[in-house]
């Protein structure tokens, strides 16, 4: 197991390096004078010069990168010249909102996908399978922002069940908080449910062809026992991979969904900073999002090793 972890770590470090490099360069490769762009149209020459000093633009690029990286690993991503807020504080403030959206959306996705996927595979080609496959195929063809608009139209405009936008903090009023998360979580969760159902169904169909399943059937074990105890775990690897990727992605907030529903999460922070040309915040948040994505996937890789001893010993390729 230790050797397995070491091998994964050796793969992780170069990717982390490239990703942080990329986040840093993102703002350095933009054409024009960054200080001028950031200072905005009403800047005085003095404020531009001060900003240039603060950003250390007179230093060569590699020096600035090493300096930035050094401070970043110590938890200092700089300070927004616009709001004077520390980038790490801004992230800490916004992260719970994105995490709540992530948890609720993935819960919706899994709660729909696991039963539907298992039952579809059990009676592959049957009416439930056909209906579920068709629905999943259709949902996957709807862009997220279109799903959001349709859900707002149905649940907020027509049925008037929940507010269309807005956010109530969890501790202020848990019920209102859940109501404000209902539509955004459903928007993200629907897409996840469709993708997961397809993945689980096809992996499960393959598993159900295995000899040990025939063996379990021959022993006369009840169907639900075979499906849930014998077939589900070995069928869930692809699902787990994609779940990991999605969690990693949603750590950075859902840009579009948070914007549409006015949720103050990481995605909204990023969009606001981009609109405001606040490069320090953009750079810091992008680095955070990319690193979080890589680390979550690293965690999923390790989880495989725990779940399937064959991977740990390098005999199976995921």
């Amino acid at each position: 197991m230790l050797a397995f972890v070491r091998a994964r770590l050796a793969h992780l470090l170069p990717v982390l390096f490239v990703v942080t490099c990329f986040s840093f360069l993102l703002t350095s490769f933009l054409p024009g004078d960054i200080a001028l762009v950031m200072a905005g149209p009403n800047a005085t020459p003095q404020s531009v010069a001060a900003l240039r000093e603060q950003l250390q633009l007179d230093q060569p690029l590699p020096v600035r990168y090493v300096d930035w990286l050094g401070r970043a690993v110590r938890g200092d991503l700089g300070r927004s010249p616009r709001s004077q807020q520390k980038v790490t504080d801004a992230i800490r403030e916004r992260l719970p909102v994105s995490l709540e959206l992530l948890v609720l959306a993935e819960l919706i996705g899994l709660l729909v996908a696991v039963p539907v996927g298992v039952l579809s595979a059990h009676r592959a080609g049957g009416p439930l399978d056909q209906a579920a496959s068709g629905a999943a195929f259709g949902i996957l063809a709807i862009p997220g922002f279109v799903v959001a608009i349709v859900l707002i139209y149905v649940f907020a405009v027509q049925l008037n069940l929940v507010p269309a936008t807005g956010y109530t903090p969890l501790l202020d009023d848990p019920l209102a908080n859940l109501r404000s998360f209902f539509l955004p979580a459903l928007t993200v969760g629907l897409g996840e449910a469709a993708a997961y159902t397809r993945l689980l169904r096809s992996d499960m169909i393959a598993t159900l062809q295995e000899d040990y399943i025939a063996m379990a059937r021959a022993k006369g074990l009840p169907t639900w026992h075979i499906l849930l105890r014998h077939a589900l775990k070995p069928s869930s690897f692809t699902l787990l991979t994609v779940l990991g990727i999605n969690i990693g992605r949603l750590m950075g907030g859902a840009l579009i969904v948070e914007t549409i529903f006015a949720l103050p999460g990481i995605g909204r922070l990023l969009v606001e900073s981009i609109y405001a040309r606040d490069l320090i915040v953009v750079q810091g948040v992008v680095a955070f999002v990319a690193v979080a994505f890589v680390l979550v996937n690293f965690g999923v890789d390790l989880l495989y090793g725990v779940l399937d001893p064959r991977i740990r010993h390098g005999r199976a390729v995921a």
Binding site: V15, V19, G125, A141, I142, V157, V242, L270
Partner: protein, 298 residues
């Protein structure tokens, strides 16, 4: 695409007995009516986009102040948006932008990605390691963020949007073509060509490339869908081509404020967008299934 590989097994199992019957049918019959309906829709949208300015529709940017947010009716077949602009004209104008971005950026990503994938899968060794690691790093980067940042700071020109979405498509095409190349390079006909004295370049161009084209083109249909969704998301945030130019994503966003009084302003472009993405996904899926049956017969 993690979703692709397990599907192959499932499709083969599901396809069981009926496929035997299907195999005798000519290829165009085997694709089924759903495929041809999807292709017809795509053709209709593409032709409308190509002929756009020549069609006898109202100017997409002229405001008919007498009818704002009107439903379908005489004068405006699909109604008007909240500024009184003809919806059908704007849908056609929007198709020009959405499809240009979809097709052009996919072409860009496909050419660059396939070239990299071919080389990585055929040459192997250190080159492959570098290519794969770089592609992985690009994939690990939040794509929409990159698109947002670049368009905000460089500009909302359609060429820039095409370039950046195309760039982000390179890793996916690289992976697909590398996987196909890896499998092909082991096949007998490649060995035979090498035994007959063919050089690497000749093998790549004449033996491997023709076999990589079909799966890559199938994948490209999905790529067009993804690129169009990316442009739509960008337009929805107001960061695609600047107004008053129409883009499907922007049209959906514009109708958001009048969802309670004139929902069709948002829902009509949303439906057209959905149908187009659905048609792209469906035709890719059908092509893949038919190709698999043929592959399994080899």
């Amino acid at each position: 695409m993690a979703a692709q590989s397990p599907d192959i097994g499932a499709a083969a199992i599901l396809a069981g007995p009926p496929v035997v019957v299907e195999r005798r049918l000519p290829a165009w019959r085997r694709l089924g009516w759903s495929f041809w309906t999807a292709v017809s829709w795509l053709a209709l949208v593409t032709v409308a986009a190509l002929l756009g300015p020549l069609l006898p529709f109202a100017d997409p940017n002229v405001q008919d102040l007498a009818s704002q947010g009107a439903g379908p009716g005489a004068g405006h077949v699909l109604g008007t948006d909240s500024l009184g602009r003809d919806m059908l004209s704007r849908l056609v104008a929007g198709a020009r932008i959405s499809l240009t971005v979809g097709y052009a950026s996919t072409l860009l990503g496909m050419l660059a990605g396939t070239l990299l994938g071919l080389l990585a899968g055929y040459v192997r060794g250190r080159l492959e390691a570098v290519v794969v690691a770089t592609l992985d790093a690009v994939l690990a980067f939040p794509a929409l963020v990159l698109v947002l940042a670049v368009t905000t700071f460089i500009g909302h020109d359609i060429r820039i949007i095409v370039a950046i979405i195309g760039f982000l498509g390179i890793p996916a095409f690289g992976r697909v073509s590398r996987a196909v190349t890896l499998a092909l390079a082991q096949r007998e006909f490649v060995l035979a060509a090498r035994a007959m004295g063919a050089g690497d370049l000749r093998i790549l161009a004449l033996e491997i490339l023709p076999n990589v084209v079909a799966p890559v083109l199938t994948f490209a249909l999905l790529g067009v869908a993804v690129a169009m969704i990316a442009e739509g998301a960008l337009a929805f945030l107001g960061l695609s081509v600047p107004p008053p130019a129409a883009s499907w994503g922007a049209m959906v966003a514009e109708g958001r404020s009048t969802l309670d009084t004139a929902p069709q302003v948002s829902l009509v472009p949303a439906t057209v967008f959905f149908l187009t993405i659905f048609a792209l996904n469906l035709s890719a899926d059908r092509l893949r299934r038919v190709a698999e049956v043929r592959e399994s017969r080899l």
